[in-house]
């Protein structure tokens, strides 16, 4: 309740996509008339392999230009006069296999922190919070390339969390991860949700991660279906059983 009150006081940031069409070599990957991703949303993005989940996220992050359509951002602080007003840096995108820069864990963690215009004491506090949350205390001076898959993902989420993004997109954040790392990553994502960050999460499986979501985007038959109903393990099981019984498939 308190979070939603605080959000209402500020102007809600959002990214709107209109008449979006993405093609690869004349083959349509997906198209959609309207999509809105705003602060406070927690969206589960579903789709088969190669359906365009990562591409959609990269489009919303400003990393890829769509074949057609407009992406408009609203509510973000204006940039300096000499900086082009692009989408980059507005909705943060986290790769399925995060890229860690050459150097220590600390270097990676503080990479984006130095460009914030916040006081040094605040930045320091934020860094320590991130270290605690991701449980990276003992690894700070290790080389980032020595980390395990789970540790890399935790570091990547902490690196994004530290800059307090308004919108964050996570591409399969808990795939190929052990239970302990999954629990930690889930806790971090839950913290982001409580902070009011807009989250767009893609995942193959219906799991604890998708249970956090309040909306559902499904890339199916080259279009994006949006709904407020997020599938649960039970509904998916029921659908599969019905499909098997009547012999229907997608």
């Amino acid at each position: 309740m308190m979070i939603s009150d605080a959000l209402q006081k500020q102007q809600t940031v959002q990214i709107n996509a209109h008449n979006l069409l993405m093609k690869f070599k004349q083959i349509t990957l997906f198209n959609v008339e309207k999509l809105t991703f705003k602060q406070g949303d927690v969206i589960y993005l579903q789709g088969d392999n190669g359906s365009g989940k990562s591409t959609l996220m990269k489009i919303l992050a400003g990393l890829i230009t769509p074949s057609e359509g407009q992406i408009i951002s609203q509510g973000f602080a204006p940039k300096s006069w000499w900086q082009p007003d692009s989408l980059l840096g507005k909705a943060v995108y986290l790769h399925q296999h995060p890229y860690l820069f050459e150097g220590s864990v600390k270097y990676n963690l503080t990479y984006a922190l130095n460009q914030l215009k916040t006081p040094a004491s605040e930045r320091n506090e934020r860094m320590h919070q991130a270290i605690n949350m991701a449980q990276l205390e003992d690894l700070l001076n290790h080389n980032a390339s020595d980390l395990s898959g789970g540790e890399r993902q935790r570091l990547a989420i902490a690196r994004a969390w530290i800059i307090q993004p308004k919108l964050l997109m996570l591409d399969e954040p808990i795939s190929n991860m052990d239970k302990q790392s999954q629990r930690l990553v889930l806790a971090m994502i839950n913290q982001l949700k409580l902070d009011g960050t807009g989250l767009l999460i893609s995942s193959h499986q219906i799991c604890g991660l998708t249970a956090l979501c309040q909306q559902h985007w499904h890339i199916k038959q080259r279009t994006i279906h949006t709904s407020m109903h997020v599938p649960t393990a039970e509904t998916v099981h029921q659908t599969n059983t019905t499909e098997l019984h009547y012999g229907t498939t997608d």
Binding site: L63, Q83, G89, A91, V92, Y93, Y111, A112, S145
Partner: protein, 235 residues
């Protein structure tokens, strides 16, 4: 015969170790001109290499092919071009840079740039695209993201810089044509070696050759250790 060679080597070392003013003036000119040309070329060439690797403007392949062709143009041809530009009736004749160190720097920049552009373009083409995407999505400016990539690619970029420096430090054709081989002004190591050899003064030529040899050894050792540190990364 071998005694003659030993005597020449002895004389060469003695010229170097006794800090012979003529020899060290030549070394000084050679390094100052080539360092200046390198420093002026590094940043624009690396940025151009990045643009060629990361952007998809029309005519990109023409520019890439042109840069690769320029790498193999003999230095004497570049010397001729710069000479024609700097000669009194040339397009840049008013600068009065012919037979000056500035003219030599200009010529060496034109020799160094294609090497640096081509090698840095190859380095940027090989980088993991996620490095760029991660940097930009975390809010880094275009310039900071390029700097981040340079940091990630520091070994291949250093190799490119060393390759460019080696090419300009050892070239004769352009320095001879544009510099004119004037003692204490434009005489550098390669032009001095050519001159002293033609005069039969092998001791000075060997002394200057030794400087280049030692430099090549030092650079190779440095690069070897850098390559060793740049072990393959797991992503």
């Amino acid at each position: 015969m071998s005694e003659g060679w030993l005597a020449l080597l002895q004389q060469a070392f003695s010229l170097l170790l006794s800090f012979d003013p003529d020899v060290w003036a030549i070394i000084n000119i050679s390094f100052s001109v080539s360092f200046a040309a390198l420093l002026l070329t590094i940043i624009p060439s690396i940025i151009l290499g990045f643009i060629l690797a990361f952007s998809h403007f029309s005519g990109r392949w023409i520019v890439i092919n042109l840069v690769q062709t320029l790498q193999s143009i003999p230095t004497v041809v570049i010397g001729l071009l710069v000479y024609l530009l700097l000669t009194r009736n040339g397009a840049l004749g008013d600068l009065k840079w012919l037979f000056t160190q500035k003219g030599m720097i200009l010529g060496q920049m034109l020799i160094c740039a294609p090497v640096l552009i081509a090698l840095s373009q190859a380095a940027f083409s090989s980088v993991d695209r996620r490095a760029w995407e991660t940097s930009r999505t975390l809010g880094a400016s275009w310039l900071r993201a390029v700097w981040t990539l340079c940091r990630e690619l520091r070994v291949p970029l250093l190799l490119a810089i060393v390759a460019g420096f080696s090419r300009i430090l050892t070239e004769v054709g352009c320095s001879m044509m544009v510099g004119g081989n004037i003692m204490n002004v434009t005489r550098n190591i390669p032009t001095a070696i050519a001159l002293e050899t033609s005069k039969g003064d092998f001791a000075q030529a060997i002394a200057l050759g030794l400087v280049l040899l030692i430099l090549a050894l030092v650079l190779n050792f440095l690069l070897g250790s850098l390559r060793g540190k740049a072990l393959p990364r797991s992503h």
